[in-house]
């Protein structure tokens, strides 16, 4: 669009020219202000002995007492440990799958078949977590199809939906089912930017299909892989709230408590608002630091990162 230089043009003149644009942006700015920025200030209750009756203004400031209590609470550290383990397991078992899917789909020659498969694997991304958990329950839960079939053959069935030991694999399987297909898109886009002449030249030089994969395809995907890996690491404390809150009562807090559900339970269900806000603030601040560090690291290794340092 137009990019006339604002320099030299008087502010008042620009304001007179651009005020309709400001009016257009206003509703969004107001909404973000009220529902995003303003409640962010509400995190001060993390430093208060907050009482809903006294409100933020009337509640007593207690410094870091909520935090020191939190750091001595085994349940809090278990939530941290669960969150980090789930991130780690997802990095190993989830992260490579979209890459593999993209390579597989890219090798399918028929465009029609490719479209059909794409249509099928993107679909679950648009299902709600409630729906995904419901479907898993019907397939592998205690009253589900798998248990039903196993029982029909005279064995005793296990309920995979309520076993704490395997919960981490269950949630990873659910994430794969829901989002692995969707995650493939960005790799497909990257694959389409690789110059086909490179493959031809390599083949002429005698490189077989595996060497071409190793020396052309994977280097072509490298920037995207590094970017997504860094994004995921920056988001290490976020594993999704809905998926866990839905299954926490069936599996128990031992395995299914992650940081977000811990905040929800301590703050809203126990009613300890200040303490819950402290846990939420801890997650938010560490998460922000992780994102910034991960992005700095991306720049260091010569990748673009999430935002550029313009």
């Amino acid at each position: 669009m137009r990019s006339e230089k604002p320099t030299g043009m008087r502010f008042r003149h620009r304001l007179r020219r651009d005020w309709p644009l400001l009016v257009m942006v206003l509703p969004v700015i107001v909404l973000l202000g009220v529902f995003h920025y303003f409640p962010t200030l509400g995190n001060v209750i993390a430093f208060q002995d907050y009482s809903p009756y006294a409100g933020i203004r009337g509640s007593e400031f207690i410094g870091f007492a909520n935090f020191s209590r939190m750091f001595s609470e085994p349940a809090f550290w278990r939530a941290v440990a669960n969150t980090l383990s789930i991130t780690a397991v997802q990095l190993v078992f989830f992260f490579p799958i979209p890459i593999g899917l993209a390579l597989l789909l890219n090798s399918v020659l028929s465009a029609k078949l490719r479209n059909v498969i794409q249509g099928v694997v993107y679909l679950p991304h648009f299902f709600s977590w409630v729906l995904v958990v419901s479907l898993f329950q019907q397939m592998i839960g205690g009253a589900g199809l798998l248990a039903q079939t196993v029982r029909d053959h005279g064995h005793s069935a296990v309920d995979l939906m309520t076993k704490p030991d395997t919960f981490i694999l269950l949630v990873t399987a659910q994430s794969v089912w829901k989002d692995a297909g969707w995650g493939m898109i960005v790799f497909l886009a990257a694959l389409s930017t690789i110059n086909p002449a490179l493959y031809e030249a390599a083949a002429a030089d005698g490189a077989n299909r595996w060497r071409r994969l190793w020396h052309i395809t994977l280097p072509g995907l490298r920037p995207v892989i590094v970017l997504l890996l860094i994004l995921r690491l920056g988001d290490a404390l976020t594993v999704g709230f809905e998926q866990f809150i839905l299954q926490r009562s069936a599996v128990g807090g031992g395995a299914a408590e992650v940081l977000d559900t811990y905040v929800y339970y301590q703050g809203l269900l126990v009613g300890d608002f200040g303490y819950g806000a402290a846990a939420g603030l801890f997650k938010g601040v560490i998460g922000l630091v992780l994102v910034l560090v991960a992005n700095r690291f991306a720049h260091l290794v010569g990748e673009q990162g999430v935002y550029s340092r313009s």
Partner: protein, 301 residues
Amino acid sequence: MTARAVWEEEPTAIGRLSKPVVLTLIALAVAFPLYVVVVTSLSSTEAVTRAGGLVVVPRELTVAAYVQLLSGGVVTRALFISVMITAVGTAFSLGITVLAAYGLSRPGSVFHRPLLFVVLLTFLFGPGIIPSYLLVNSLGLIDHYASLILPTAISAFNLIVMRSFFMGIPGELIDSARIDGAGEFAILRRIVLPLSKAVVAVVGLFYAVGYWNAFFNALLYINDNNKWPLQMVLRTYIVQQQPLPTGAGGIATGTGLGLQPAPGLAIKMAIVVIAIVPVLLVYPFIQRHFTKGVIIGAVKG
């Protein structure tokens, strides 16, 4: 690419055999659970009993479960609420997103950089669950339908996608309209929007699916179960397996409607199907507009 390039070697036997198998398995992993749920929702008591639960082989199909669910009561009400929230929420979100995306699409306009920064900064942190709850509570929006729309009405991602698309529209078009005396609102309506139907459709569908699937806001802000959207009903009666309420205000009984009552499992699966169907209906439209250009290109830009 529809044919193998001449320089490429013949596919190996293993590759030729395993690829269709793997692709079929992947497609089945998505389709099979949906199929079982649909078949069970259409099954009679006898069919469910014979199968010992979920029904894989369809037999004696009946729509009794759907008739019972949709003739008043919990699910009918929740369905109506979800449809209304989705319609109103999508119109609202899309409207203010289009306006803001256009308002931010001109570098060099007054306050352009700080306003864009205010939007982009929301990617980096959220207010947190507890402060959000306290805010909605202090605004008196607990148990109010507005709490299902306002707090999450803006997706900065959708806004940026749309803005990038608007920025790709040739500036000459807009300049010539301005010379003809058109104001910004007229330019948006007569020039920009007609050129942006695809991106408006995709962003609208993303918002719609988001509202339809939303569960978190209702969990936090809606205590009155008469105001529950469908996802909360799904959670309560399917995921948490609470007994289905029948009779007045609950789910209509089959005998009251003069038909063979559907088994409890078919009713449950019918609730699941009702939650899926709208997504399936809009999905082909999302897919059609979802060319790589719309989202990926926009995100990179």
